[in-house]
Structure formats: C-alpha cells, structure tokens
C-alpha cells in the first residue's frame, strides 16, 4: 500500500462518502414508482377487472338511430361499435357514431349546473338551486295560466323522451314544443305527404335495388340513415353473385355518394326535379308506362321533353333518355331525392317529381324499391318539427316579449340559423333561457341557467328509428357508464321540473328509467303469447341485452295514387336571392361528413379525421371547379372573400375537380364561436351568409338558394390536409375492371357487371 498523506486520505474519504450517497440515490431513482390497487368496497356484479363488458344502446350522434354496442372495462367506456342485432346498423357504425366516446369524455363538458350572475359570467350552483329557479318560474306561469309563454326547443328526439316533453308542455298548457334540427328533411316529409298521403318516410331498399338514381341525396354520408344505406350499397354492389347494382348520382357538387356512384351527373342547382320530370316524360313518351292515368301524366309532363329539360338542367338530352331507358329496363330500380335538391325554393316539387319517377316504373311497395313503413311502435306523437319559418315565428314572439321561459335541449339554433333569423337577439329578449346541453355551445352560452344533461352514454332513453327499416324497430338506450360529472339525464330534469310544478299526479314517475319501463309496457303488450307469458321483466331484460326490439309486421304494400297529385306535378325553376350579375356563383353549403350540422366539431377525433373528399382537417375551405379557379387565377390555399347579399366569409380555396363551374361549395360544421376548445374559432360557418330564402310549402330554409360572389384577397394559407397528390399518374394503384372487353373468368365470380347500361 503506498503512503497516503492525511490530506489525501481525507479527500478520498470525502469522495467515497459522496459517491456512496450518489449510488444510494441512483438505486432509489431506478425504483418502480408506487402504484395502488384500489379494490371495490362491494364488488359490483357487472364489472370484472381485466374483462370487458358490452352494453347495447342507441347512438345519438345523428338522427339515424343506429344500435350500438359499447365496450366497457373497469366501468369505463372504451369503444363504440354497431350492434349486430340492430337492424339499422347491423354491427356497423360510422365515424361520427364511434366518436361518441369523445362526447362522453370531452374535456369541455359542462360538469355542474350554472347560472349567469350579475357580471354576465356563469357561476356554479347546486341542482336544487337551478331546478328551483326554473321550477318556481314555471309553476308561477302555469298557475297564472300563462304557461303558453314557455317554449321548449329540443333537438329531434324520438320515443319516450319526446312523449315526456309533450306531456310536460301539456301540463304547462303551451303549444310551443319545437323540435328543431338544421338537417331535418322537411321537404321530403312534405313531398311524401303530398304524393303518398303519409307523413312518414318510406324505407328505401338500397340493398335489393339494381339501379339507384339519387337526386342530390348524399345517402352514404348524411342523408337519413347513412350506415344503413352503406350496408345496402355494399350488398347491392357486390352482394349477389350474378348482378351488380348500379348507382347514379345527380347533384351539382360531387358528394361521397357521388364518388361512390357509377355515374355522377352534374345538374344545375335546383333543377334536379326538372331532370326527374324529364326522365318521367321520356318514360311515358316511349310507351313504357301503361297505367290508366297515362294521359293525365302525359298532359302534366308535356313541357318536360328531353331537349327542354336538357336546356334547363345542363344535362345532355342523350343522358336523359339513356337514364330514363335504363331506369325502366332495370328492375328493381329506385329513385331517391333529398339533400341539396330538397333545399331549394322548389324543394317539395322536386321530391314529388322523384316520387313520380318511382311511381311510373312501379318501384313503389316493391322489394328493391320504395317500401312503406308501418306506424312506428313508439308512443304516438304529434309532429313538432320546427321549420325555419317556425323558428322565425318563435324569434318574433320572443322579440314581442311573448316568451318568458325558453328551455333548450341539445339543439344549437344560434349556430344553425342564419343571422337574418335574429335568433340571438331573440334569446336576449327572453327573461329566462334554460339550456339542458352537455356542452357550452353557442346557444347555451347565451342561456341564463344551464342544467347540464348526461350524454347519451350515461342516460336512459329509447329510440324508434324514423324511417324504420320496413318494419317496426325500437331500442332502449341504457347508461353504459356511471355519470362522470354532476349532471342529470334530460328526462330526469324534466320530471323533476314537472314535480315542482305539482304535476306529480299526471307524471308520477320518479325517473326516466321508470317512465321508460312504463312506456315499454305497451310495446310488451304487442308481443306474442310466449313473450307475454314470461312477464315484463324478462322482456325488458332481453330488450336491454339485445339492444333492439323489432317485429316483422311490414307496412301496407298496396298504393294507389290520388289523381289530383298528377295535375299538380311540375317543377318551377329555382329562385335565388341576389342577381346573377352581382353574385355569379351559387353557394352550395353541404353537411360535413365529419361534423354533420356542426355537432361533431367538438370531438377531437372528428377534427382530426380528414374530410373524405379533400383530406382537409381542422378547418373550412371553399370548393371550386379547376376551370373557374384558373380563370380567377386562384390556386389551393388562396384566401377568398365569399360575399352573399347577407354576409361575407373569408375561406381558403380548394380546387375540386367535380363541381359545376358556377357553383362553389362550403361544408357546414366549422366556424363555431363557442363549443369547446376543439371547435372554437376554427373555420367558417356558411350558414352565416345564407339568404333567408324559403321553400314555400314547408317554410323550410332553401339553404342551397344563395348566390355569392368570390373575390381574391391576395393572401394565402396552407390547408391542413393529409393527402399529397391526388392523381395516380398512371401508376395503376387503384385498379379497375369491367366495362367492356375485359376478360373475367366466370367461376364463382361475384364481380361481373351484369347490369349492362349502354352508354
């Protein structure tokens, strides 16, 4: 051992000490962080740690009413899938439906009741405080016989919640129960009423149809029941081994359905009905219709010769005759109409014309055509659907001080009504605006009291899809997780308010669940003897388990046309506000596939889901024909000002190869001023510049009837999108077959296009 002097030694000892400490700490830092095993106090029956539990329920993200199965683990919802036994969704689900989880777990949910204080900001209150304030006011008004000064504005709920609303309002003595949704197809209902005499939508049997003519209906994305239509589309396309359904889409701007179609035909906006009548004329003129009322038809359609229609619609006459011929030759075939075609000043006429087309080739009541639905099995309800003009009336009443209390449930009129409706100022005139929303949307932000409701995954409810699937369907929506926050179910809130109004004798139920069970007794009674023998509880459990209830009674198949209808058939050219000189473009606002009417914009998953047609995320854009853009010297990302007679928007341009040159399209859904961190201040809302043009029959907004002009600003932004170059440059990545001259081996092939259409 070498000599070490004292100093050296101390130095070494010191260093050694420090390093021992360092080693100690090193080991400490590598230790596993402490985790806890928190047991239940009492083990619940349906939760097993590590195992998934599935609950069937009903989707409420759009009005389609798909059945869903929700996977839960440790009491938390993990995934939403379609319910296999529900006839609408059949185990499948769209993107928006699956994103419902993010409505449940949304960080911007309202977590407790709130009241606007003197400073105009919201302060948290207890449920008792909130319910008392509203209940007292309602009770006072009811007692004073002024219950009609209360209005209940709700999203288009169905089933027993709708019934609950109805009886609640009846207690108040108020007729002002309004179901308002931007996307409600008023014109379609009206057209069916007019043509079939039934205020109910028929079932469109896409699955069995061999030729579908869609006049503006984006049936794969937003129209009525997209998931069910998609199932039918897939089945018709490649289901049977020997035949392939053919799909034709007629619309000014290619939608998802247009992209999926075999043929996309651009027709001038608003002339879809004229085109339909052109087809009808050709069918009759060629002698392909031999009904007794042939002459009446001929007389009604005399003006709609192929050439005249071609002139008006911009669709070549040859195309018209070809379509008409194949529509006759292919059976079963089906024509549907809706979407932008119904949102014009001639909307109802247009859709009647489409129905006429179905009538002429005998598609009505046929498999693969248009099948009538039976009466829905749910509670009998009056129609409360509020059209645009109804909403105008409400706003006017409010401006006149005729509304004292407005209860709003789940709908967002401030966002989905054009500013010309002056709904926002109407709200300011109402002394007490109560919102039952789960989110602070634009309308809720203007409320005085917020009584936040559960999301659909936390609450009881039921749904009877409208239209059905040709037979009666119902499903119970059950809570799949325990409530996350201090919120209550809408039904429970209404029942509580009813109690406070002293209506316990008429509405004796303590909870929505109880009310549902009461209501489902009636459906239980419809069952066969076997079901009845097992008792209601067994029936109830089996409905909850299956997530769906149905019976195979179909609607009537016989149909005879009221001859008066024929004489009334005819489609006037669409009217637009604003002159063509000042406003050379027609604005085509369409429901975004991702956000529907804007309700999906607060879901981060939907915000980050590329728009199917453009791959754009997180923003708005205006679609323009490449030639138009070239003429205006615009390219992708150029900011333009879109000016209508009623407002102005600034949006970046997206060059869209499948839109008519004089049409520009903007998706609805973005442009929220509130509605949480993911939606707020993102993109624009084209509803803001819509002209208040009405469809005269229904009073609904002719949302596709606004003219605009476009001016470049010289500024640019980079569109946030995922797609690179959208041309395959001859690389043959998406390969195609069929058409003519392609050899396909014949064995077991379900791919040979049998439905040959001469073109």
């Amino acid at each position: 051992m070498p000599n070490i002097d004292r100093r050296e030694f101390l130095k070494l000892v010191g260093a050694g000490g420090v390093s021992v400490g360092a080693g100690f700490m090193l080991r400490e830092s590598t230790k596993h962080p402490r985790e806890y095993l928190i047991p239940h106090v009492v083990a619940p029956e349906d939760i097993s740690s590590g195992l998934s539990t599935w609950y069937n329920s009903v989707c409420s993200m759009c009005p389609a009413g798909c059945g869903i199965s929700v996977r839960t683990r440790e009491g938390r919802a993990k995934k939403i899938e379609g319910n296999l036994s529900h006839p609408v969704s059949q185990g499948r689900l769209c993107a928006l439906g699956q994103a419902g989880l993010q409505a449940l777990y949304n960080p911007d949910r309202l977590t407790a009741p709130m009241r606007r204080n003197g400073e105009g900001t919201f302060e948290e209150i207890t449920w008792e405080q909130g319910l008392k304030q509203v209940g007292d006011r309602l009770d006072l008004l009811r007692a004073a016989g002024r219950g009609n000064r209360v209005a209940l504005l709700t999203t288009g709920v169905r089933g027993h919640l709708a019934q609950l609303f109805e009886s609640f309002m009846r207690q108040l003595g108020s007729p002002r129960l309004l179901h308002y949704d931007y996307d409600h197809p008023h014109t379609l209902y009206a057209a069916n009423q007019q043509f079939f005499g039934e205020d109910r939508l028929p079932y469109y049997d896409l699955q069995n149809t061999r030729l579908l003519l869609s006049f503006g209906a984006d049936y794969l994305s937003n129209w009525i029941s997209p998931v069910h239509h998609s199932l039918g589309f897939g089945e018709s396309r490649q289901g049977p081994a020997d035949v392939r359904g053919r799909f034709v889409q007629i619309e000014p701007r290619m939608s998802i359905s247009g992209a999926a179609a075999d043929e996309w035909i651009p027709a001038r906006p608003g002339t879809e009905g004229i085109l339909a009548l052109g087809l009808a004329h050709h069918i009759i003129a060629e002698g392909n219709y031999s009904g007794a009322d042939r002459d009446a038809w001929m007389a009604a359609l005399a003006d709609y010769t192929a050439d005249a229609v071609a002139e008006q619609t911009g669709v070549p006459a040859t195309t018209i005759t070809r379509l008409a011929d194949s529509f006759v030759d292919t059976a079963p075939s089906l024509a549907i109409g809706g979407g932008s075609a119904g949102n014009h000043s001639n909307g109802v006429d247009t859709l009647v014309a489409v129905n006429a087309l179905n009538y002429l080739v005998g598609n009505i009541g046929q498999e693969g055509g248009l099948v009538f639905n039976p009466e829905p099995a749910g509670p009998a309800l009056q129609q409360h659907q509020a059209s645009y003009s109804t909403m105008l009336e409400l706003a006017e009443a409010a401006h006149h001080g005729e509304i004292d209390v407005l209860i709003i449930n789940g709908t967002n009129p401030v966002f989905t009504l054009p500013p010309t409706a002056e709904f926002e100022s109407a709200l300011a005139q109402i002394p007490l605006v109560v919102s039952l929303s789960s989110f602070l949307d634009e309308t809720t932000a203007l409320a005085d009291v917020i009584l936040p409701s559960h999301t659909y995954l936390e609450s009881w409810g039921d749904d009877f899809p409208e239209p059905g699937v040709g037979f009666s369907v119902g499903a119970v929506s059950q809570p799949v997780v325990s409530p996350l926050y201090n919120t209550r179910g809408t039904g429970d809130i209404i029942l509580d308010l009813a109690r406070r109004m002293g209506s316990s004798s008429v509405m004796p139920w303590q909870s929505m669940e109880e009310f549902l069970k009461y209501g489902w007794q009636r459906i239980y009674q419809r069952g066969d003897s076997q079901t009845l023998a097992q008792g209601f509880d067994a029936f109830w459990t089996s409905v909850l388990k299956a997530g769906a209830w149905g019976e195979t009674k179909s609607g009537n198949t016989a149909f005879s046309l009221n001859p008066d209808v024929i004489a009334g058939i005819g489609v006037a050219p669409p009217e637009f506000s604003g002159s063509e000189d000042d406003y050379p473009f027609i604005l085509h606002p369409y429901l975004s596939p991702n956000f529907h009417d804007g309700r999906g914009a607060n879901l981060p998953w939907m915000q980050e889901l590329p728009d199917p047609m453009t791959s754009i995320m997180y923003g708005s854009w205006v679609e323009m024909n490449p030639l138009t853009a070239q003429q205006m010297e615009l390219s992708e990302g150029d900011l333009v000002d879109i000016q209508s007679p009623h407002g102005q928007l600034r949006v970046p341009v997206f060059i869209y190869p499948a839109i008519m040159p004089n049409v520009i399209a903007i998706p609805i859904g973005q442009g929220h001023g509130e509605y949480g961190r993911y939606a707020k201040d993102r993109g624009v809302n084209p509803i803001q510049i819509l002209s208040p043009q009405l469809e005269p029959v229904t009073g609904s907004l002719a949302s596709s009837a606004t003219r605009v002009n476009v001016s470049a600003t010289g500024k640019r932004v980079k569109l946030v999108k995922t797609g690179g170059t959208s041309r395959d440059l001859g690389r043959n990545i998406i390969q195609t077959t069929g058409g003519s001259g392609v050899e396909v081996s014949s064995v077991s092939s379900n791919s040979i296009p049998i439905t040959e259409v001469t073109s």
Binding site: G724, T725, L729, I733
Partner: protein, 453 residues
C-alpha cells in the same frame, strides 16, 4: 522526390522547434478561439439537442413521408468528410508519396473528429437515443440481439471499426512525435506525453516494428474505409424507394465521400497554415496536388451523377422518372442546381495550375464543394422520400430551426475537438517531415532549386 517544405534551409531542429512551439506556446487567440467554438457548441449543438431529447424528435422538421432529414444528411456528410483523411493517408503511405507527410496528421485528425461528430449524429437522429445500446451486440437478460441483417447494423459495425482503426492509426503514427514532445515538456504535459509515447526511444528495432505495424494498418484501413461509405450508401440503396434503390450508390457515395473529404482537407490545411505558422510545411505543392485530386474526383462525381439521371430516365419506370424529375425541377430544385454549380462546374477552374496554387481561391472552392456535397446528401434523402410510390402520401420536408442549429453546432463541435487536438498532437508529423529532408549537416545547405533525395 520533392520535399514538402518551402524552404530547403530548414534543419531537423527547426521543425522540432516549430512543432513543439505549436503545442506548448499558447497565445490568447487560441483561448478566444477555443472559448468561442466551445460556447457555440454548447449553445447550438448541445442545448437544442437536450431540448429535442426532452420534447421528442418532433423538435426537428421530420414528417410523415420525410421521416429522415438533415440529421441523416449531416451524418453522411461527416462520414464522408472523414473519408479522405485516413484513407488518403493510407494510400499515400503505401505508395510512398512524400508530399503526404506534412499534411497527413491533421487530415487523419479530421477523419477522427468527423467520425466522432457523425457518431454523435446517430444519437441525435434516433428517436430514443437512451436505448441506442440495443443496437450493440452484448449479452443481456432479454436474450435479444441486434438484427445483423439490417444495413443500419452494418453501419454500426463499420463505423465502430472505422473509429477504432482511425484512432489507432493516428495514434501509432504519432508515437515518435509524442516521444519528441515528451522530452521538451514538463508537468502534466510531460506526464501525458510520457504515457502517450509508451517510452518510445527511437531505436532501430522500434522503428522497424512501427513501420510494419503501420503498413499493416494502412492495408487494413483502405478496404475498411471503402466499405464504410459503401455501407452508408446501403442504408439507402437497400430500400426500395425510387431513386434510392440504385446499384451505383456504393461507388457514388465512396467517390462523393473522398471528394468532400479532400475538399475538407484543403480547408483545414489552409487554416492550419495560417494559424499555426506552418507556412513552410504546408505549401503550394500540397494545394496543387490536392487540387489535381479534387479535379479528378469532381469529374468522376459528375459522371456518376449523369449516369444516375440517365439510368433513371432510361428505366422508363414512372416512379424513378418522377423522383428524378422532382429532384431536377421540383420543390428542392434550386438546391439541386446549386449543387451542380458547386460540385460539377466550379471545380473545373482547377484545370488551371494558377488556380490550384493560389491559396484563397482554393479555400473558397473547397468550402463551396463541401456546401455542394452537403446539399447532395440532403437531396438524396429529401427528394427521394418526398416522391415515393403512392402519390397520395407525397409530402415535403423542411428542416426546423433546431436542426439547422444543431448542424451549425456540429461544425463548432468539430472545431472545438480540432482545437483541442492541435494542442495535444503534433499537428505536423515531425519525424516524417524530417525523413523527407536532407540529412542534417553541420552547415546548412545553400538554398537550391533542385531537391536532394
């Protein structure tokens, strides 16, 4: 044989003095330079890197099609820069070229430090550098080994070998010089040089062993160096990305590497000559010879570039065609033409002897070549990844501030290492310069135009 020295009246002792002075005598300028380089390294290299470590590799500009970016192009650049030092030194050693001797030490140091910087870039490049040891073969409880079929692992092995080889090569060549410096120093320096020189005395036996060991090393390192850059090219060429999947890539990379490395040597020579007072040892002759070499390399490089374009065009493959067209006329086209100007056109000036023997123009050209060569590496990655098979997945990659800062910082890191090097290693090989000189006589020789053998 020509002597490397400008003046022929230098004696052994003069060289000795000059070199020892370059190590021992340190002026304030040196410290200022070191402090500057050091702080730039910290600020521009390590700070952004730690930022990136903390937040994730997203601090750089990489994105979906462009998952590789400047980190990898810098990596190839530095590996390429390393190629001339040791490789050139070995070749010249084996061919017994005397003009090598004044410059080879610093050239080898350049190799070594660019390799160090390159290896650091590997750490900067990967997403989880704290697990980088998984790419090394060592027994572990997971019973997992690296995937020896991966071109990246060839890289790991090749670069590890190359660093080892280069370190040993430069060290071995320096042993006699360490011994020489040892005798002139005291204190910690003496301790250091005593250890570094291993007790070298310069006996006939030691010289003999050194000669053979050195020769064997040189023989081993030449194929190693060629393999290293071939392997780097295989990181790309073994993919099936259009414009990367090319057989010519290995020679292309090797030539490019030597090209940029030689240009790097010119730059370093110039700086050493000016700052260390080595005017007598690093002369016009060196620049002339290096210039000729550069010229040849530039012509080969241009040829390979032309071949690459031609084969791509001639292949008729839509993907190749698109990728190459994109390189020439796409988003990155200005960079491409800049590269052609700097690496193919400007070097033609070196056909003129006057240009080759002028120091400042050569410096400017050498820097231009290296800028061009950096661009080349960047373009190889950026353009090819931007235009792959599926047009829908096309996209553009643009470097971020962090990446640019780290790139700047890497030069500072290199400079710092080099500055430390010049104070530890004799940056001109004393014994080999002496070897090329006339045997010392009592009276210095009169200046003569011819050079004694």
């Amino acid at each position: 044989m020509t002597t490397p020295t400008e003046r022929n009246d230098l004696g052994y002792n003069d060289i000795h003095e000059d070199v020892v002075r370059s190590i021992v005598k340190t002026g304030p300028k040196y410290y200022i330079a070191l402090a500057t380089a050091g702080s730039v390294t910290l600020l521009c290299f390590f700070f952004p890197w730690f930022y990136q470590l903390y937040y994730g590799i997203g601090a750089a500009g990489m994105n979906h099609p462009g998952v590789w970016g400047t980190y990898l192009s810098s990596f190839i650049f530095w590996i390429g820069l390393s190629h001339s030092g040791t490789l050139l030194s070995c070749v010249l050693h084996l061919t017994n070229s005397s003009w090598r001797k004044a410059m080879y030490r610093s050239a080898e140091a350049m190799t070594l430090f660019s390799l160090v910087v390159a290896a650091t870039y590997v750490m900067v490049h990967v997403g989880r550098p704290w697990f980088i040891h998984w790419a090394l073969p060592y027994p572990n409880q997971m019973e997992l080994w690296p995937n020896f079929r991966s071109p990246l692992l060839f890289d790991v092995m090749a670069i590890a070998t190359y660093i080892t080889g280069s370190t040993i090569f430069i060290y071995m060549g320096s042993i006699p010089d360490f011994a020489a410096v040892r005798d002139r120093t005291s204190g910690w320096r003496n301790t250091m040089y005593t250890l570094l020189s291993l007790g070298w005395r310069g006996t006939d036996k030691e010289w003999h062993r050194l000669h053979w060991a050195y020769t064997f090393l040189a023989v081993l390192i030449i194929p190693l160096a060629v393999s290293v850059h071939s392997i780097v090219s295989w990181d790309f060429a073994m993919s099936i990305v259009p414009a990367l999947h090319q057989t010519i890539f290995a020679p292309y990379f090797v030539v490019g590497a030597i090209y940029s490395g030689t240009a790097g040597i010119v730059t370093v020579m110039f700086v050493l000559r000016k700052t260390m007072g080595f005017e007598q040892y690093i002369t016009k002759l060196h620049f002339d010879n290096l210039g000729k070499l550069l010229l040849v390399l530039s012509l080969i490089w241009t040829y390979i570039n032309a071949v690459e374009l031609f084969t791509g065009w001639y292949s008729g493959s839509s993907e190749e065609y698109e990728a190459l067209g994109y390189k020439l006329f796409g988003f990155y086209a200005p960079l491409y033409w800049e590269m052609i100007l700097f690496c193919a056109v400007a070097p033609l000036l070196m056909f003129s002897t006057r240009f080759r023997t002028s120091f400042v123009p050569m410096l400017i050209l050498s820097i231009a070549i290296n800028i061009g060569m950096y661009t080349e590496r960047f373009l190889i990655i950026a353009t090819s990844l931007s235009r792959q098979y599926l047009p829908d997945a096309w996209g553009v990659y643009v470097p971020s501030l962090v990446e640019i800062s780290i790139m700047v910082g890497s030069f500072a890191l290199f400079t710092t290492l080099f500055l430390v090097f010049v104070k530890i290693f004799p940056s001109v090989s004393m014994y080999e310069v002496k070897e090329t000189m006339a045997t010392p006589k009592i009276e210095p020789l009169a200046p003569a135009s011819g050079s004694p053998a």
